[in-house]
Structures are given as structure tokens and as C-alpha cells.
């Protein structure tokens, strides 16, 4: 589904991604871990097409298509979704109106007619239930005055509504209490299927007890320095990141 080869990118003349390689197939969940500032969010930004990141090398294929050629909105329409680390507030724009616009834009891209109001409402109710999202929040302004946890849960609700092929969850667990964490994870687990895939960016092994990954990668200083299965996450939890950092430092000398 997603094939990243030697991806390099910089922001404001600073090289952030220094050659990322990653292969994600349908039905898989990949976890990306790594210390603060290692480039995890940057990778998400580059994949989704944030303007201030400049790709300086490498390629990304998404379902065989050159992802980097697409505009940010077309990447979304092709089925790429990012649950933001810091979701934005947009005053006055109702959550539901925003979602309907988004859904219909994506449908239009695939030559599908807009969803009828009734059908849209049915879908909304179904997904609200699935990810246990408070119906009151659906009618409020987009993220305006939401608590940190509510914002994160809204990201998962949107994910459920838009039904993307590949979802990137950028530290969706940070700022969630244990109950919210369980609800969010349950939601994601229910959405997992043979047809879609997830990249879960996290600091903590904790989340991976709920969303069990097929693969775990460690990103450090703009490179994936170690890959393994879910046991790697446990090892990181125990030993911290220092033992990962050393070989890289030596290698670069």
C-alpha cells in the first residue's frame, strides 16, 4: 500500500528526514517510536504534503501512485488520513458541516454523488457509536473549546467517518487518560480491516498494549534505526532510547 524509499526532507534549510525506508501493506499496523524531535511528526507532514517541508530525495508510492505528486487534498482523497498531534480549532464551523463537506469532496473525487442528508445522518450515528463519540460534540464548532482528550477523540471519529485506506495516528495517546485511551484504541481496533493500514506514532509502549502492532520501528535523527515486532516496544520501554542512539552516532563519525 505504502512504499517509502530513501525519503529525505528538509524544513527551513534543516535536514530532518535523512533517508527513510518503510513498507506498509494492507491489513498491517506499524508503530513508529523514537525520542522527541527525531522526526516522527515531520514524516507525517511530508507524507500528507505540508508546504513548509521540502522533499530533497527519495520516493513514496501509495497504491502504486507517486504520492508526492499530489496536492494535500488529493492525498486525502486518495485515502491518506492523519490524526493530528495537535488538532486545530476552527470557530463557527460546525463539526458536522465540516465532515459532510469533507466526505462529499472525497466522494466527488471518486465520481460518487454527495451523500443524502438522511444517509449521512445514519452514517454519523453509526460511527459515533462505534468510536463512542459524544453526539453533543458533533454539533459543536470544530474542536473549539474541546478538551485535549476530546480533540483526539474527534480525530478518531473523523477517521471512522472518512474511512481512509491508510491512517497515521500522531501521538493520539498523549494527553489521554486511561479510559479515553481504551475508548480510542477500541475504536481503532474496530476499524482495522484487511483493506486498510495504520501507522501509529507513539512515545509509549502503553498504547501498543491496546493497539497491537505487527511491526515496530524506531526513528532517530531522521532515520529508522531499528525495526522489529511488538517485543521491540517492550525493550524500549525497559532500556530507554540511549542504546539505540549510540550506534548511529558512531556510524555517522
Amino acid at each position: 500500500m505504502l512504499s517509502i524509499k530513501n525519503l529525505q526532507a528538509k524544513v527551513e534549510d534543516k535536514q530532518i528526514l535523512k533517508g527513510i525506508n518503510l513498507q506498509v501493506n494492507a491489513g498491517e499496523v506499524h508503530a513508529i517510536m523514537g525520542p522527541n524531535g527525531s522526526g516522527k511528526s515531520s514524516l507525517a507532514s511530508v507524507l500528507t504534503g505540508r508546504e513548509n517541508f521540502e522533499v530533497t530525495g527519495g520516493e513514496v508510492l501509495f497504491d502504486g501512485k507517486d504520492l508526492l505528486e499530489f496536492s494535500p487534498e488529493d492525498r486525502a482523497r486518495e485515502g491518506l488520513f492523519l490524526a493530528f498531534q495537535y488538532p486545530i480549532e476552527i470557530p463557527g464551523v460546525s463539526n458536522i458541516n465540516f465532515l459532510r463537506t469533507a466526505l462529499n469532496e472525497i466522494r466527488a473525487y471518486h465520481n460518487e454523488p454527495p451523500l443524502e442528508a438522511k444517509e449521512f445522518l445514519r452514517l454519523t450515528r453509526e460511527k459515533q457509536k462505534l468510536v463512542e463519540f459524544d453526539a453533543k460534540l458533533t454539533n459543536r464548532s470544530l474542536n473549539e473549546g474541546f478538551s485535549g482528550g476530546e480533540k483526539k477523540r474527534n480525530e478518531i471519529f473523523q477517521l471512522a467517518m472518512l474511512n481512509p485506506k491508510l491512517s497515521i495516528l500522531d501521538e493520539t495517546d498523549s494527553g489521554l487518560d486511561i479510559d479515553a485511551l481504551r475508548i480510542v484504541s477500541n475504536g481503532v481496533n474496530k476499524l482495522r480491516s484487511e483493506k486498510n493500514a495504520f501507522i501509529v506514532i507513539t512515545h509509549y509502549q502503553r498504547l501498543l498494549e491496546y493497539i497491537v502492532p505487527d511491526f515496530v520501528h524506531v526513528l532517530y535523527d531522521g532515520r529508522i534505526v531499528k525495526s522489529g515486532t511488538k517485543e521491540l516496544a517492550l525493550e524500549l520501554e525497559e532500556k530507554g532510547y540511549d542504546w539505540i542512539k549510540e550506534p548511529v552516532t558512531t556510524a555517522s563519525v
Binding site: E51, S71, P72, R77, F81, I88, I90, V93, F98, E105
Partner: protein, 482 residues
């Protein structure tokens, strides 16, 4: 377009001048210039009674005495009052034979707004067949109103049919000595609307100039007078959302509202005059004086405006809260882009006790547009427990535009409660990217954000109008984000 409005105006009036006007009765346009003869000419053309001519002449005297204002924070273009033609026939001739001759950009905008072809033609100045849909609509409409004793006509008609009402109320809210543009309007006003709602009558439909202006060109010195008698209600819509190309460079309209005891007037405007081109050439100077008076207890006046057009918009719809417990409201969205300037706001004069006012102003600036909110809340010594709430927000798109707020508060009564809130925000790249990431393109994203921002004001408009105004905001801001 190579010509700016001034050139067109000049060319137009020059051409007419060749034929002279004194002897030629077929003549449509007065020669440029303003003096007592011009006023005699206009009044005679309109077959007005002596009292109205006298009133116009007095207004002209006060016009001569008034200085041009210079307190504004933008450069006022020099207006040569002698270089304007002060009378155009009520029915201007169609300028084009068919739609092919009309500016394609204008047609594109009509289409986006979903305006039917027959109306597009009228708005663009294309000749239409004598039988036109809205004529019959307008007729049925008038019948219904007549049954309830509601008067809705042009001012000229009202001068003839209801002179007692005109004499009593014309200039009673905006005296001709009020300001230079109001004086000018009083001296030379061409036409406008007149509304009277009898005691206890709730006007059963939105009254809209739309039905009138389609067939009549009221010109650049429009005058509107609305009277809501005791316990009555009316909602009045001015303008329509279609862009109006107009050769007149300066518009100096006057609107007067009178709400008697327990009466309510809602006045909504969508202003979309020609804003000039990207370089700021051409465009309308829109200098309007709008004021309402709540004359009786518990009367209510509410102004709602969506201002997207004109090169310079300069207006302060105001309410004089004379009756006890009367209330005034002002809801405004003003958009400026390219080199447009908007200086708008309101004045609320609290005179009666327990009077209330509410001001919600939403400025949107894009490009190099400059947007100012200027408002006055004045509480008189007898206005016990008067209350005002003002919310004044500015939204910036890009970093070459500007937003300014000038709230003035003068209170002579300690029991008054006056609240003022102001915010300035920018449409952030983060907001746009967030929406992009959900499959929404930048143009639609801006439209969503702007409409969300303006929602509180748009909600005040009658349903159908609100939908049009939403579309208009989106169209107006197309292409303003990189």
C-alpha cells in the same frame, strides 16, 4: 477594463451635453454640475410640490456650508461635485443587445450565485422583453400588501399619494444639515423606497427592493424612508447579492427608519457594488447615512449588513433609542480585498431608560484591504440602566491587509452597563492544512472558515438571503489565499 468609472461618467455626460437639455424633453441626463438650477430642474422633472422643492433648496444651502470630513484614517479621494451629473432618467436604456457583449467574468459570477438568466440580463444591463417574470410577481405582491393597508412604493409616488406622511417624516431622522453627503442627498435625491406599516400590522413578507430596482434605476442618490406604526413589524431587504456594475462613482444614499411604540424594524443589506479592479482603479465610493429612531417605548430596530463591494464603504447605521426600553442592534460583516477600504460601524444613542443595544461586527480583510470598525455608544443622563454589548472581531487573510477598531464610549449615567469585546485572528496555514488533509481544497477551506466566522451575523438574515450571502462571501474571497 481600460476606463475607470470617472472616465466613463465623463464620456457619458459629455456626449449627452452635445444635445443640450433645456429644450430637449427626451433628454435623459442632466449636464454635470450642481447649482440651484440643477435642483429646480430635478424637482420640475419629477413634478414635485413646492414644499419639497423648498426643502431641497434648503438642503443645498446646508450642503454649501458643510466641510468635507477629514477625521477618517484613510485618504479621501478628492471629489469634484461639479463634475457629476445629478439627474438620470429613472429608466436607463439597456446598454447591450445580448449577453455576448457582457463581461464574461460578471456572467461567471452570476452563474456561481445561481441567478436566473432573465435576471442576469437586467442586472448586467441587457435589453429584455417587455414581459418579464417579476412584473407579475411584483403585482401579486402589491395586492397582498394593499389588503393589509401597507404602503410600499417609490418615494416619488409617495410624495404624490401620501404627502402628509412624507412631510411629517422626511428628514425627521436624518436632517439635511446632518453631514455633507446627507445634505447633498436631500438636495438632489433621485428616488428610493417608501414603506408604511399601519398600527398592529405584521408585514406578511420580506419587503425587498429587489422587486422594484429590477425595473427602475434609482441612481446614485437613493433615499429610503420606512415607518413602522405602533405595534407593527417589518423586515426589509436592501439590494441583492448580484454584483452591480455602475458608472456612477459616488453613491450617497440616505435611509431613515422610524419605529413607534412596540414596533419592530429589521433592515438587512447586502452591498456588492463594483469594488474596482485589482490595482484599485475605479469602483464605487459608498457614502451612506443610515439612521433609525425608536420613537416609542419597547420599539426595536435591527440593522444587518453584509458589505463586500465598493472601493470605499463609509457608513454607520445608527439607532436613536428614545423610547423607554427600546432596543437597537447592529450586525455587520464587512469584507475588503485588493485595495478596498471599509470604514463602518454604528452609533447607539441611549436616551430612554432601560434601553438596550447590541453590536456584533465582523471585519474580514484580504489582499491589501483595510477594514475599520468605528462605533459610538452614548448613554444620556436619563438612560437609567441602559445596557450595551459590543463584540468586534477582525479576521485577516494574508499579511498585507489591515484591521482597525475605534470604539467610542460616552456615558453620562452611572447605572449603565457597557461591555466591549474585541478579537483579531488570522486564517492560519494550519487551519487550511487541517481542512486540506480532510480532502477540502483551499478555496473551499477559506469559504468554510469565513462563513463560520461570520455565522452570527449571517444568521440574522432571512433564510434565503443568508444562503446567497454565504455564497457571495465565498466568491468574494476566491483566490485571496495563495
Amino acid at each position: 477594463m481600460a476606463n475607470n468609472s470617472a472616465d466613463i461618467l465623463e464620456e457619458y455626460s459629455d456626449k449627452e451635453y452635445e444635445f443640450g437639455f433645456v429644450t430637449d424633453i427626451e433628454m435623459d441626463i442632466a449636464p454635470r454640475g450642481l447649482n440651484e438650477d440643477t435642483i429646480h430642474f430635478i424637482s420640475a422633472k419629477k413634478k414635485e410640490p413646492q414644499w419639497l422643492l423648498d426643502w431641497r433648496l434648503k438642503a443645498y444651502q446646508s450642503f454649501l456650508k458643510q466641510p468635507e470630513p477629514h477625521w477618517q484614517n484613510f485618504e479621501l479621494p478628492k471629489i469634484d461635485f461639479q463634475n457629476i451629473s445629478y439627474y438620470a432618467a429613472p429608466k436607463s436604456k439597456a446598454k447591450y443587445k445580448d449577453m455576448n457583449e457582457v463581461d464574461p467574468e460578471l456572467i461567471a459570477t452570476f452563474e456561481k450565485l445561481g441567478i436566473p438568466l432573465s435576471e442576469q440580463k437586467i442586472l448586467a444591463g441587457v435589453a429584455v422583453d417587455a414581459v418579464f417574470d417579476s412584473v407579475s410577481v411584483a403585482t401579486t405582491f402589491k395586492e397582498t400588501l394593499k389588503e393589509q393597508g401597507i404602503i410600499f412604493s417609490s418615494i416619488s409616488e409617495a410624495v404624490k399619494e401620501h404627502p402628509e406622511l412624507i412631510q411629517k417624516y422626511l428628514g425627521s431622522v436624518v436632517p439635511h444639515s446632518d453631514n455633507i453627503y446627507a445634505a447633498l442627498n436631500a438636495a438632489v435625491f433621485s428616488d428610493g423606497s417608501f414603506v408604511y406599516i399601519p398600527k398592529g400590522v405584521r408585514c406578511p413578507m420580506e419587503l425587498s427592493t429587489y422587486f422594484r430596482i429590477n425595473s427602475e434605476n434609482t441612481g446614485q442618490f437613493e433615499r429610503t424612508l420606512i415607518i413602522a406604526d405602533e405595534g407593527s413589524y417589518v423586515s426589509y431587504l436592501e439590494g441583492c447579492t448580484a454584483p452591480k456594475r455602475d458608472e456612477n462613482q459616488m453613491h450617497a444614499a440616505v435611509v431613515e427608519l422610524v419605529a413607534l411604540e412596540n414596533a419592530e424594524i429589521k433592515y438587512s443589506t447586502v452591498q456588492n457594488w463594483y469594488p474596482g479592479d485589482k490595482e484599485g482603479k475605479g469602483g464605487i465610493y459608498n457614502f451612506v447615512t443610515k439612521r433609525g429612531v425608536c420613537r416609542g417605548a419597547h420599539a426595536k430596530i435591527s440593522w444587518t449588513q453584509v458589505e463586500t463591494g465598493s472601493a470605499i464603504t463609509w457608513k454607520y447605521p445608527s439607532v436613536i433609542l428614545q423610547g423607554d426600553y427600546s432596543s437597537g442592534e447592529f450586525y455587520s460583516v464587512a469584507v475588503t480585498k485588493n485595495k478596498q477600504i471599509a470604514d463602518t460601524g454604528t452609533k447607539m444613542y441611549h436616551i430612554g431608560k432601560g434601553t438596550k443595544s447590541r453590536i456584533i461586527s465582523k471585519g474580514i480583510s484580504a489582499g491589501q484591504g483595510q477594514n475599520s470598525y468605528r462605533g459610538l455608544v452614548q448613554v444620556g443622563s436619563k438612560a437609567e440602566n441602559a445596557r450595551n454589548f459590543t463584540q468586534c472581531d477582525s479576521l485577516l487573510i494574508g499579511d498585507r491587509c489591515g484591521a482597525h477598531t475605534f470604539p467610542y464610549i460616552e456615558s453620562k449615567n452611572k447605572s449603565a452597563t457597557i461591555e466591549h469585546e474585541a478579537t483579531t485572528s488570522k486564517i492560519g496555514e494550519d487551519q487550511i492544512f487541517y481542512l486540506n488533509q480532510r480532502g477540502i481544497d483551499t478555496e473551499k477551506a477559506v469559504a468554510l472558515i469565513v462563513n463560520g466566522y461570520a455565522k452570527e451575523v449571517l444568521n440574522q438574515l432571512p433564510m434565503e438571503f443568508a444562503v446567497e450571502a454565504q455564497k457571495l462571501l465565498s466568491i468574494t474571497l476566491e483566490g485571496s489565499v495563495g
